[in-house]
Symmetry: C2
């Protein structure tokens, strides 16, 4: 039986979950996989914390050098998070000939190429199934299950915190602020929720998954990103009336050798599989040229779901004789990024309640070639009429220009809300 020694960097939530799985399920893994996986050392400053998580003091390492110098360690799990010291630690481990398994989406989305170069140079593996969608085996599915396909589209809910907040707002008719506070109390959202609610976390994952899906590396700063902080109860209500559920979506598309990648809230038609993804669940919906539509759904975070993905990577890494790297940037010669993407739009404006107003507003939309699917008067707010416009597919740029011009009309008090609609 193959013996595999593991080092774990960091004993936070995910580190603790990984340790628990590797110890609690050790014998089952021996039986199923014919692998004897032992945790050799855990890098953790607080011995007390280590003991709390069931790690004996003899296994606690005080410095990264204790990990890199230990010849019994074959694979190092990095679950510190953030850029530094994680990046330095991973580099050192790879340079000392150890394969690395990480859950660090920010680091991989920012420094994948650089880290993979080091891994290749030292003939080590670098695996990060746990960086996207927690326990959902989306990376393995893309790399080992859908290889025959050219993926043309992906859309997904990659962040459990925001999906919890939006579900709560929708089902319990609560405000964004109240839902966020509740999520923080329950430990679903962090004290500083920026990374989740402003869409950074989703963007990191989208960057990784688009690279894998489309074979093209997308620089983070090219990804359009918009969070959920401006979503109101009124938006949610309007969506319901129109048969839509609001979700923070990650969207990627590949067409005509061009890539489109964006993160923003969107109205999802109730009959779309993503509309039913509730609470802290995550999901990804893909279209491949041969396989057609595929969806994967599961827990996107948490100690054990994420630990499940990490241990999966350890087992995967232990079985293969040569490290596996994902090849990208070679399948298409010229790829440009689409910034002026196309979408359907929902727009709510407050306007003067007088004859002629509709003709003025629709004239502006028409001028910018924004074609209207329907117009719904939603009653009045103070002296203004609230009017919803649903557009056909139109260009983002045209829509934004039309909105700017609408705002300048005397008859328009405000453009209260603009939400893209998933087709």
């Amino acid at each position: 039986m193959k013996k595999i020694g593991v080092g774990i960097l960091g004993l936070g939530t995910v580190g603790g979950g990984t340790y628990k799985i590797l110890t609690e399920n050790h014998n089952n893994i021996v039986c199923k996989e014919n692998l004897d996986i032992q945790v050799i050392k855990v890098l953790e400053r607080s011995v007390e914390r280590a003991l709390q998580k069931g790690v004996p003091e003899s296994k606690v390492a005080a410095s990264i050098d204790e990990i890199t110098a230990n010849n019994d360690i074959d694979i190092v799990v990095e679950v510190i998070g953030g850029i530094e010291p994680a990046k330095t630690f991973i580099s050192k481990c790879l340079m000392s000939g150890k394969s690395v398994v990480t859950a660090n989406k920010e680091l991989i989305s920012k420094h994948w190429t650089e880290l993979e170069e080091i891994a290749k140079k030292h003939n080590c593996g670098l695996y990060f199934e746990a960086s996207c969608l927690g326990g959902v085996p989306i990376i393995r599915s893309l790399v080992e299950g859908l290889q025959a396909n050219n993926i043309t589209e992906l859309a997904g809910i990659f962040n459990g915190t925001t999906n919890y907040i939006l579900t709560k707002m929708s089902e319990d008719n609560m405000s964004y602020t109240d839902c966020l506070a509740e999520a923080q109390n329950l430990g679903y959202a962090e004290a500083d929720p920026t990374s989740d609610v402003e869409g950074f976390d989703t963007m990191y994952k989208l960057s990784i998954l688009s690279t894998l899906a489309f074979g093209k590396r997308i620089p983070l700063d090219k990804i359009y990103r918009e969070g959920i902080t401006r979503i109101t109860k009124s938006d949610i209500e309007s969506g319901k009336e129109l048969g839509y559920t609001i979700k923070l979506l990650a969207i990627g598309k590949m067409y005509n050798n061009s890539l489109e990648v964006r993160v923003h809230p969107a109205f999802v038609p109730d009959e779309h599989p993503l509309a039913t993804v509730r609470g802290s669940f995550n999901a990804i919906h893909l279209v491949g040229n041969y396989v057609g539509e595929i969806m994967l759904y599961g827990k996107g975070a948490g100690d054990l779901p994420t630990g499940s993905a990490i241990v999966s990577d350890i087992i995967y890494c232990a079985h293969i004789s040569e490290p596996r790297y994902v090849r990208f940037d070679c399948s298409v010669n010229e790829t440009s990024l689409v910034t002026d993407f196309k979408s359907k739009y929902y727009m709510l404006i407050n306007c003067v309640d007088k004859p002629g107003v509709l003709s003025q507003t629709t004239a502006v939309l028409g001028k910018h070639e924004v074609s209207i699917e329907s117009i719904i008067q939603k009653g009045k707010h103070k002296e203004f009429a609230r009017v919803v416009f649903l557009t056909h597919e139109t260009s983002e740029l045209s829509m934004m220009n039309a909105i700017e011009e609408l705002k300048k009309l005397n008859v328009v008090d405000s453009v209260e809300s603009v939400i893209r609609v998933l087709d």
Copy 2:
């Protein structure tokens, strides 16, 4: 770059799809996977058919020996289906040192162990991602993505034909017979639909997937199997009123070292992710002890989705240096099969419309320890009252005994319908 020679046995729907993907997407696979995969020979009696599918005459083999004797062939794809000659052909290929990729669920579910023994003896791989759920990478996910977990439950819709029929019955208010006829006209159902509508196809897939999920080989004859032929428009209507969608489910559970495996129609609560799986789509819902709930969803059949899974297996097989076998039967010492499983039940009876009838019927249920969640009078049919009973979780055996006794009551005209309800 590694060169891989492929032989294809059979050029039916799936064989044609596989050939199309391997030729059409050859260059992309070269780029993404660094593999040069060439179809060397295709075993197909009809040269005309081969030409129609774009296979040049020079590649058409007339006998299996032309495949086994060809040293340029590394991997053989079996897409003939059925037991013979597929079994003999696969055995010959393995014995001549070629790895085999197959979509043959019946063969694998019946002769897996035997074929794997031959594969091991000759150090060849035997892969069958395409045998279950078409293009959905469920086998890869179980074997390479969820290995850290003990899977405790699975439930799924594994057959597109029956799901198409049930969806159509539900959404277009059509009878079973009419839907079946339409499915046959559209080519979704075969002239002899037995394997689909009686649940055999689902059972084969459940046998394979339970073995992988639970690490235990389940003999086919131990799987409870019931098809959809008795489902009526009235059942569908009742389900809708109660918030249920009817599906042909495959269910597997592992608890107390015991396994429960069954195929039958069931009412699925509308809020369950499986309820939203419409038309010819397939899905599997799993529960792992660490990952929690997971669902995979996609096209379960068709030339290209199934071809996608076959080509995925070819690429997988081409990359690994040592063949991979799934280990089962070692993780638990004593596993017994649960035949008297537990479920909730929906039962519709036609009974005399008189006082005292309910007390007689409920007395019978009570005697058999069937606990009732609700009773709904559904109007009258001829002189009889139609009464629906929804039970709490109860044992199958108790329920069946209670039904037998109910049928003997003078006040009961008939037990019209009994449908299990997914919890």
